[in-house]
């Protein structure tokens, strides 16, 4: 495969029907109104020279290279800024235009270092291309230094770890500035000065690293020259081939071109035809891929009899034989239900599918759970109860049609950056914003965006607030009666329930801390402001009433008719790349693939026939149940696929006690992670660059993950599972990952139309993908809900038992930041640490002052289950009484202090509410957290 260059139409597409017919260089073409002449020409197969235009940015008209002649029009207008008109006759090439264009090029080249042969962008430079296209043969003003005044010794800014800014090569086309404004929405760049003096600057007199830049790479992507260039390209040279694949970080699921030289990955370039990202990216997917070749990676299987023993490197054969034998021995001693597995949201659908198959068909039980337990399990439960399907209702592009956006417990600009940029774009266009979050997240006030309402509620009161919003809608007559009557059930009961005075904003104001008038205004806006769209994240799910809040939001959407078309819906923003997929693939202990209960005889029958073995009709253990059962002795062996439960799960001491009690812990991972410290078998995993399979993102989009290199460990992860199964006496074999998907498709109705071939043909599909919807279903519940009628659910607010006390007077809530990912196993092994070298504790200056804490102080953070140490940051974004930290670094061990409280319906841990105390530490303690993190049960 050669280096893939997507066509550039010069200016963005316009919506609407193609009704305007015109003639360009004698070719007739018909395009939608508002299309530029430049774009229309490209549709007619004609390339007009250009430098300042590119099709993900609005036209700017500064370079004047794209001039054309139009019959009846004066002069030579720029084709990028001139819209088409019916009957227009355009000429793009003649002698006069050629001469004018060469004149433009001469001016550019005279101020450009002519070091093309040694330039890092050689072969990938639009200035170079345009010199060729316009037929430039001489530069009358001289070039470089001889041309007189120039920018040739302008300095290079190398402060960003991933790209350089070499100002001497800048042609001031402003594409970078516009990319930062329009695509990313950070507005970090400006053009300083005017005319010849104009130059690009990242803020006033600061470097890129010191500026507001979030290193998304949009400017690098937009730059037509070598001015903004990836450091890897400078070091390694231009790549020579591309493979289209999917980012393995977050649930946005961006498509990328992995660009390589031979077998060496040079850069990841966002793919324009990617359904989820349409050419945009964030710092993680764009740049933070170095972990895949990090020397810390485990490359050979390792085994030990006791966790106090040193690891022994062994052959695959021995590792697989050891694992299978020990699993069978343990089952023989303690029963069929004494072993189980945890699947990962980072691995492919195919890899997850075979693990749950191994548990059900080979282990003979349902003890399989997924790390989604600890993040989005309430989404599955809540949306299934109300709408009938455990998934978000919209595609990402739906937000382009939203008029009112309600963001609750999510921080998209940090956790789902590419979707966050898309949302910000819509907000800059005028959509109204309601934010429900204890913290003043960046969205609340950012350039050109200001939330209409920020309901800064007390952590743990989501249900009370969502109910209050519904109360207002019902009691103020704002219900969409026609929708409710036609599409929903159980409304009358719910109406009576929610109308109760105990749900009024006034009644809950003291509890939630949000003024009643603010709640009323927000409810009115959501109900009457046009298309209302709800986006939510872990700030909803990771609560003792996570599932209840999800149902409460579904009630809100149904009551206002905000379901079933573009611009509306209830949309979970998923954490990890394949959270949706791992849930879809039957990783829950009570559900077979496609969310079908294990007690359903017809469904079990399908698998029993295909797999040739009877399946258990009772649910198995969830992750927290596995830990509890390990401690009480009935659960003795666990297989963990690519997940660091020792770091990511709550109440670390409890998790350690459970892991320490296991007779066999098998970990499959890229690194010797925290969990592996408790393991007896460590099976090296593959990075996303080696995987062949699919990921499913937060909008149900199934994207291909294509290998750019063979597995560096010698085996695909699904092959290892098959071999363990075989060694345990069950024949499991696939020739390829594609065959696994074929099995998923024939057994799971929502995946019936999915195959690798189909995905390779159409790019991606959003499930359900079947005969009725061969190209997938971007928006769900359009004519009716999956369950028939949408069901209103009574959502009673029940306060969490986790409350602040005299001993623990503050509430801690946890989250994530842009540059790091989850437990940080990958991002900590990249230059992203430049942005987040440690976890810090944010708290309000008032809470800090009464404790004698200053910005940067080292503090002890303690809860009723544990204690750790971090550095403090004072922040007005926090309400008084609430503090916040991330959990990206093991040394902090933020989960040392989170408790085992959980969502009542799904046992998703209550990460977002922990009563804590914060004390100033006089002497800085460094080994502090590590000390706390040491195993309590088994020393090592």
């Amino acid at each position: 495969m050669s280096l893939l260059k997507e066509p550039d139409f010069g200016t963005p597409a316009r919506d609407g029907e193609a009704t305007v017919e015109l003639t360009i260089d004698g070719v007739s073409v018909t395009v939608p109104p508002g299309t530029s002449v430049m774009r229309a020409a490209k549709h007619a197969g004609l390339d007009i020279p250009k430098l300042c235009a590119t099709d993900n940015l609005e036209a700017f008209g500064s370079c004047r290279l794209c001039i054309v002649e139009i019959d009846g029009a004066r002069g030579t207008p720029a084709s990028c800024t001139t819209p088409v008109a019916p009957g227009m006759v355009v000429r793009t090439q003649n002698e006069k235009l050629g001469k004018l264009r060469r004149g433009v090029m001469e001016l550019y080249i005279s101020d450009h270092p002519l070091d093309c042969l040694t330039c890092s962008a050689n072969g990938d430079c639009e200035l170079q291309d345009m010199a060729g296209v316009t037929g430039l043969r001489e530069v009358r003003y001289g070039s470089g230094v001889e041309a007189g005044a120039n920018h040739l010794d302008a300095p290079t800014d190398s402060s960003n770890p991933y790209f350089d800014f070499d100002a001497s090569k800048c042609i001031a086309c402003s594409r970078c500035v516009r990319a930062c404004d329009e695509v990313q929405g950070t507005l970090a760049l400006t053009i300083e000065g005017r005319g010849f003096d104009s130059k690009v600057a990242a803020g006033a007199g600061v470097s890129f690293m010191e500026s507001d830049c979030v290193s998304c790479g949009a400017c690098v992507q937009a730059c037509p020259t070598a001015t903004l260039q990836e450091k890897t390209v400078i070091e390694l040279g231009m790549p020579t081939r591309s493979v289209i694949t999917t980012c393995a970080y977050c649930g946005v699921g961006c498509s990328f071109k992995a660009e390589l030289r031979g077998d060496e990955l040079v850069r990841m370039v966002p793919y324009k035809d990617g359904g989820a990202n349409e050419g945009h990216s964030c710092v993680k997917g764009r740049f933070a891929f170095g972990y895949a070749s990090h020397p810390d990676r485990v490359m050979e299987p390792m085994v030990r009899d006791a966790i106090t023993d040193p690891w022994r490197k062994v052959s695959w054969e021995e590792a697989i034989g050891f694992t299978a034998r020990r699993l069978r021995e343990i089952q023989a001693n303690y029963g069929q239900g004494s072993i189980g597995a945890i699947t990962s949201s980072r691995t492919t659908n195919e890899e997850v599918y075979v693990v749950q198959k191994m548990v059900r068909a080979v282990f003979g039980n349902n003890n399989v759970d997924t790390c989604a337990r600890v993040c989005h399990s309430p989404t599955g439960y809540g949306l299934k109860q109300t709408f009938g399907e455990s998934a978000g209702t919209q595609d990402f592009s739906s937000v382009d049609h939203a008029d009112v956006i309600l963001v609750i417990g999510a921080n998209p600009t940090d956790a789902h950056p590419v979707f966050g940029s898309r949302m910000k774009k819509r907000l800059r266009q005028g959509a109204k914003l309601i934010v429900i979050d204890p913290r003043q997240i960046d969205l609340v006030r950012s350039p050109h965006i200001e939330a209409a309402h920020h309901l800064s509620l007390a952590p743990g009161t989501n249900v009370a607030i969502v109910n209050a919003l519904s109360h207002v809608i019902v009691t103020e007559g704002l219900v969409d009666r026609a929708f409710v009557e036609e599409r929903c059930e159980d409304f009358d009961q719910w109406e009576t329930f929610i109308s109760g005075p105990e749900h009024s904003p006034e009644a809950v104001a003291e509890l939630t801390g949000v003024p009643a008038e603010e709640v009323r205004a927000a409810a009115r806006l959501y109900a009457t402001g046009g298309n209302g769209a709800i986006y939510y994240g872990l700030g909803v799910t990771e609560h003792s009433q996570g599932s209840t809040t999800v149902m409460g939001m579904a009630n809100l959407a149904m009551a206002t008719g905000n379901i079933g078309r573009a611009g509306v819906g209830v949309n979970p923003l998923r954490g990890q790349n394949n959270v949706q997929g791992s849930c879809d693939m039957g990783s829950f202990p009570h559900e077979l693939p496609g969310y079908r209960h294990v007690s359903d005889d017809d469904v079990r029958d399908v698998y029993e026939k295909l797999w040739g073995t009877p399946l258990l009709n009772e649910p198995g253990l969830r992750i927290p149940n596995m830990f509890d059962s390990a401690i009480d002795g009935s659960f003795r062996a666990l297989f963990v696929q690519g997940e660091d439960i020792a770091q990511s799960d709550p109440n670390t001491a409890h998790v350690f006690a459970a892991l320490g009690a296991l007779e066999l812990l098998v970990v499959q991972d890229l690194f010797e992670n925290e969990t592996a410290k408790w393991a007896h078998v460590l099976l090296p995993g593959t990075s996303f660059l080696e995987k062949d399979g699919t990921f499913t993102n937060a909008e149900r989009r199934i994207n291909r993950v294509r290998p750019v290199m063979s597995p560096q460990t010698g085996k695909h992860e699904w092959e290892i599972i098959c071999e363990i199964s075989q060694a345990m006496g069950y024949p499991m074999h696939y020739d390829s990952a594609a065959q696994i998907m074929d099995e998923i498709a024939i057994t799971t109705p929502t995946f019936a139309g999915v195959s690798f071939d189909h995905l390779d043909k159409v790019g991606s599909v959003q499930w359900p993908c079947n005969l009725e919807a061969p190209n997938g279903t971007p928006i769900m519940h359009t004519d009716e809900f999956t369950r028939g009628k949408g069901r209103f659910m009574e959502t009673v607010y029940v306060p969490t038992t986790e409350r602040s006390t005299r001993k623990y007077p503050l509430i801690l809530t946890t989250g994530r930041i842009l540059s790091q990912y989850n437990v940080g196993a990958q991002t900590r092994r990249t230059a992203n640490v430049a942005w987040h070298p440690e976890d810090i504790l944010e708290l309000h200056p008032h809470d800090a002052e009464v404790r004698g804490i200053e910005d940067g102080s080292t503090v002890a953070l303690s809860s009723r289950v544990g204690r750790t140490t971090l550095r403090a940051k004072l922040s007005e974004r926090m309400p008084v009484g609430v503090c916040y930290t991330t959990f990206h670094h093991p040394v902090t061990g933020a989960n040392v202090i989170t408790t085992d409280n959980s969502d009542w319906a799904t046992n998703c841990p209550e990460y977002k509410v922990t009563a804590v105390q914060v004390d100033l530490l006089v002497e800085p303690v460094n080994a502090q957290a590590a000390e706390n993190l040491e195993p309590a049960v088994v020393g090592h």
Binding site: G335, Q336, G337, N365, N366, N367, S544, Q545, T548, P589, H590, H597, N617, E618, P619, G620, L621, R622, P624, N625, D628, S629, I631, S634, N651, H654, V796, V798, T801, R864, V865, T899, D900, S902, W904, A905, T906, N907
Partner: protein
């Protein structure tokens, strides 16, 4: 054992029961039992039932009622 000091099956059953505390006890018990049937492993159901049989200390009374409805399922499905 959790920070609350309760055995897990008791703590979890109580958590579920709190969500249905506003309903009539009989109705609440059925809803709790249905939820537990749908998502609990047989050994946890067995542990809950035996906890009830040995006095049901610290168990929400409505959760105890729900446990009664779990008995036949338990008889079929224990491992």
């Amino acid at each position: 054992m959790s920070a609350t000091g309760l055995p897990p099956h008791v703590r979890l059953a109580n958590e579920i029961a709190r969500q249905f505390a506003h309903r009539e006890p009989a109705d609440a018990a059925t809803r709790i039992a249905n939820h537990i049937k749908a998502v609990w492993d047989p050994r946890m159901k067995a542990a809950l039932i035996s906890h009830v049989d040995s006095g049901g200390e610290d168990l929400d009374p409505v959760a105890a009622l729900a446990a009664e409805q779990l008995r036949p399922v338990e008889a079929r499905g224990a491992q």
